[in-house]
């Protein structure tokens, strides 16, 4: 009995030793990959940060309104955020590569999914960033055009333009990463439809007089000329 127990224990220990001997080099390889990956990711972070600083990315993101959004959310600057994102994505990639060396069943699939997901994430982030840039540019352009045309609710008009573009960019980004595609599509359609319906009702019911005055001013040259004459000094 005693011999059987000892024998079983010995076998178990031998098996464990074989397993450890089998996995240890892989574990070491994984740790080396993770360590080298950390160094490479850190270098990538430094390079990306320098490139972004050289290309005045922070100014671009400030113009896009992204800096303000991040500041409100108590997050670091866009340059720092992008460089950190690059670091974590790169390092996570290396760690997953290292884990795949261990040969754990089923893990390979997750690793390949992660690498398949990366380009989509990148594209989604690019779409989101340029969406924010476009939203900032067009909302400011709308604000300036409305103010210079003496439109009373210029700020609301500008915010509406920004809101619609941001929602549009978000729905595109979510569609690219494949998260809540339908929800975002429905949300966008609902918001856009509601905005258009709201505007139609506002102009149709609330703004009858305004619309009449606008049309009179627009299509009755005498009125238009008289009003313009009284509004401006000739600049040139």
């Amino acid at each position: 009995m005693r011999d059987i127990i000892v024998s079983e224990l010995m076998q178990a220990f031998e098996q464990m030793a074989r397993d450890v001997a089998h996995y240890l080099p892989r574990l070491i390889v994984m740790l080396i990959i993770a360590l080298v990956g950390w160094v490479i990711a850190y270098l990538l972070k430094l390079i990306v940060r320098s490139l972004l600083r050289l290309t005045k990315f922070s100014k671009l993101s400030q113009n896009a309104g992204a800096t303000e959004l991040l500041h409100q959310a108590a997050l670091p600057s866009t340059t720092e955020l992008v460089s950190r994102l690059v670091f974590w994505i790169a390092w996570a990639g290396f760690v997953l590569m290292g884990l795949s060396v261990l040969g754990i069943a089923g893990l390979d699939e997750y690793v390949s999914r992660f690498f398949f997901f990366l380009p989509r994430l990148f594209v989604a982030l690019v779409i989101l960033f340029f969406g924010l840039v476009a939203a900032s540019f067009f909302s400011r352009a709308a604000l300036l055009a409305a103010v210079n045309a003496n439109f009373r609710s210029s700020r609301i008009f500008s915010i509406s333009v920004r809101f619609i573009i941001v929602i549009f960019a978000l729905s595109m980004a979510f569609e690219v990463v494949g998260v809540a595609e339908e929800t975002m599509f429905i949300a966008f359609a609902t918001v856009f439809g509601a905005a258009m319906l709201g505007l139609a009702i506002a102009f149709g019911l609330g703004g009858q007089d305004l619309a009449r005055r606008f049309l009179e001013k627009r299509f009755t040259p005498q009125n238009r000329n008289r009003e313009e004459r009284e509004d401006e000094l000739s600049p040139l």
Binding site: N148, S154, E228, R229, D231, P235, L236
Partner: protein, 427 residues
Amino acid sequence: MLRDVELTEENLLTDEFLRQLINIGEVDIVVGLSTHNNAKTIGPVIAAIQAGILKCFPRERVAIINADGGSQDDTTGLVQNASIDDLRHDHKVYALRTLHSVSVRYARIPDPGKALQTIMAGADLLRAKTCVIVSPYSTSIEPDWLQRLARPSYFDNFDLVSPIYRRQRFEGALVRDLLYPMTRSIYGSRIREPFGSEFAVSGRLITDLLGNGIMNTDWGRMGPEISTTIFALTGKYRVCQSFLGVKQSSSRGHDMVAAVRRTVGALFASLDGNFPVWSAVTGSQSVPTVGTAIELTEEPLRLNRKRLLDMFSNGVAQLEPVLSSILSPSLLSELRRIAALGVDEFEYPAELWTRSVFEFAASYHKSTINRDHIIQALVPLYRGRSLTFFVENRAGSEQDIEIREESLCADFERLKPYLLEIWADRK
């Protein structure tokens, strides 16, 4: 350099235009017209040009070049078919040379820079000694204008002859409140109309303008007229002014943003490349002026002051996020203060206006936001200043107006170091 000029001209001149120019040969004077759907006004302008040629330059070889930006109303036909015979009988004078008239469609849509470049390239090819540019909107043009513009260049070798108009006292507010004082303080020359719709340039200046590709720069494309003036001032060319006559304003009720973009935008854009020149300029010098000074006219003017103030106040309030990217906090708070004033107490002081313009120029240089947005954001502020201009000058004599103008120019010159300081500031 010569090769560049040839290449530039080659791109601008179509085969048909080139054929017409070759048929003309060489001329002494070119009169250039940049048109786009000007059939309503082009008749009297062409008649005045022809009469001016008959009266003042009967012995010279003259050609009219019309650069058209895609007119749909037969403007080019009117220019080409205008007959000089009727004028000969009316004025009892006869030209000793044939008056040539050519039209070219340089583009399907108007492009002022390309139009002026086309005219200048044509004048350069015709080896004209002088090129007079006339606006097709100037229905108040008189035959003598041609002489007043061309003579100083043709006979006295001035490279640029800039106009001085007889204006209604409230006309040209942007010129008087910004373009003149700023051009004067920046480039050091007292050119009253840096953005003249009529002016004359010498063949030498044309060759250099084309050779240096000025019309292909940002400022050249935006405002070719003011860019010509600035190029002449920075290049130490011989510049003079000539009194013309009544300026019939065509800009009233037109797009204010477009007017500001074409003039102030070009002026601001010119500051980047010319920094070494203008940063060294202090004070200003008078410019030789020919002709007899002309008084301001006194036509009555109705102005809705309340509405103008409303446009200013609304602009300052609504554009606060934009203005905070352009102006310093102290200046913005000062603007907020005056925007809250009533129409009777409202005043946009000259010094505050000067600082506003300089801070806009510095922000434009640094591109703190999109440059075109910076120019558009200036429009409400200009409206506020033009209200003060109206209120200050409505009861004053011509001397009072002149004194205020000088005072504003002195502010621009005095505060130029402030511009240099914020120009270099990296924040």
